[in-house]
Amino acid sequence: MNSSAEVLIIGGGVIGCATAYYLAKKGIEVIVLEKNQIGEGGSSRNGGGVRQSGRDPRELPLAMYAVEHLWPILSEELGMDVEYYKKGNLRLAKTPAHIKILEGLTSRAQAVGLKVQMIDGEEVRKINPHLSDEVIGASWCPTDGHANPMLTTLAYYKNARKAGARFITGEKVLELKKVKGRIRKVITDHSEYEAETVILAAGFESRKIANTIGIDIPMQRVLLEALVTEAQPKMFEQMLGTAEADFYGHQSTHGSFVFGGSSGMDAYTSDYDRPVTTSFTASCICRGIMKYFPELAEAKIVRTWSGWIDECADKVPVIDKVEEVPGLIVACGFTGHGFGICPAVGTVLSELAMGEQPSIDISGLKYGRFKAKI
């Protein structure tokens, strides 16, 4: 079995699959190694937000590019409905303090050219009449939206595979090795692969793998939990979030509501070898939802789940060529908001792998940016 390729991608999540797709489409030989199965990590466990608003200006170019150029054509391009809705994002506020947070985010985003604005409670309910009176305002970005993360990941995978990318699942990467000054070998628990370029996109597990070649990215895993309801009659199409980012969600094409949320103890869960839901978070999310949407009180929860996000020290990802290790490209630390930018990330990663100048500004996402505070 030939175990070498021009580009080897570690991680069969949405970033790995998207990158494999854009590379394979250009005729590049790609191998994707996935420890578990396709879309196993955060790729299938997130709330599906395709947002620009609320983002750090450093990753905003990726978000804006994706929304402008990539998401609108994605279903057509991949020949599969990824359930993309460009119906806006409401980031909700219930207190003056929330308003303050949102105003800060909004003005920073406006400064880099995003069309986002603050609206009051009444305007919020004009957009989404189901929201309760507790909502006193929101930031409103009409070009934001949501998509189905599971379908998006699998659509990229399916098309990448069709275009010739070789996916191998069940391969756990143990070590990266340089040969003659360049990255070359990827050693797994079963065999060994070789490539000219290696893209590391393995979520929170990227850190451990990067460490094997002397690279470190300051990030940690944080457990996030989400839940889904039974199908409900169509209520609204926007993506929703809150000022404190403690609750987010949308109604899917299927009619079910997907909501994620935080219990406040997310960073302190036990250290198990698999993400396990806590006994209390889903209840907490429900209480949160009901404050915003009293009419969902009788909707039934059919499933809850949890997943680890790769939280970077400064909450934006590292997407960069690692100069120290020629041939190594790192794409991790997405901090729970990588899904919305995945088409753009896949695009720039494919460009980086081909030695091209990235078409989107990722200068704020460099590997070497982390410094002590004093």
Partner: protein, 113 residues
């Protein structure tokens, strides 16, 4: 431990069958043909199938169909069904109204409710 599967190894062409219209997942109305086609689209695990087609994601959470889907996928892949790992199970094992799940109570459950 996940088995190593090279997804590029051919499992042959999708060949339509007369019973492809048969509903397998009753809740989400997913047919046998859709499941078989999904395998040919590269969905090799129960979880991938589930995420791709919503089999077992309906109200009953796969109570009725999971064994059936597994059998179809295994046959399509040409492996014994017991070699395919089933999907994950998660709380709640029965649908729970949001207002009930939200209502965590210290009041113990007694015999006479």
């Amino acid at each position: 431990m996940a088995k190593i599967i090279d997804r590029s190894i051919s499992i042959g062409e999708f060949i339509p069958q007369p019973d492809d219209d048969l509903i397998i997942c009753r809740c989400e109305e997913v047919t046998k043909g859709e499941i078989r086609r999904a395998v040919h689209d590269g969905m090799y695990t129960m979880t991938e199938i589930r995420r791709y087609l919503r089999t077992g994601m309906g109200l009953c959470q796969g109570q009725t169909c999971s064994k059936l889907v597994k059998g179809i996928v295994a046959k399509e892949l040409g492996v014994p069904a017991d070699q395919l790992e089933g999907g994950t199970s998660r709380a709640p094992v029965r649908p729970v109204e949001m207002k009930i799940l939200a209502n965590e109570s210290e009041k113990e459950v007694s015999k006479h409710e």
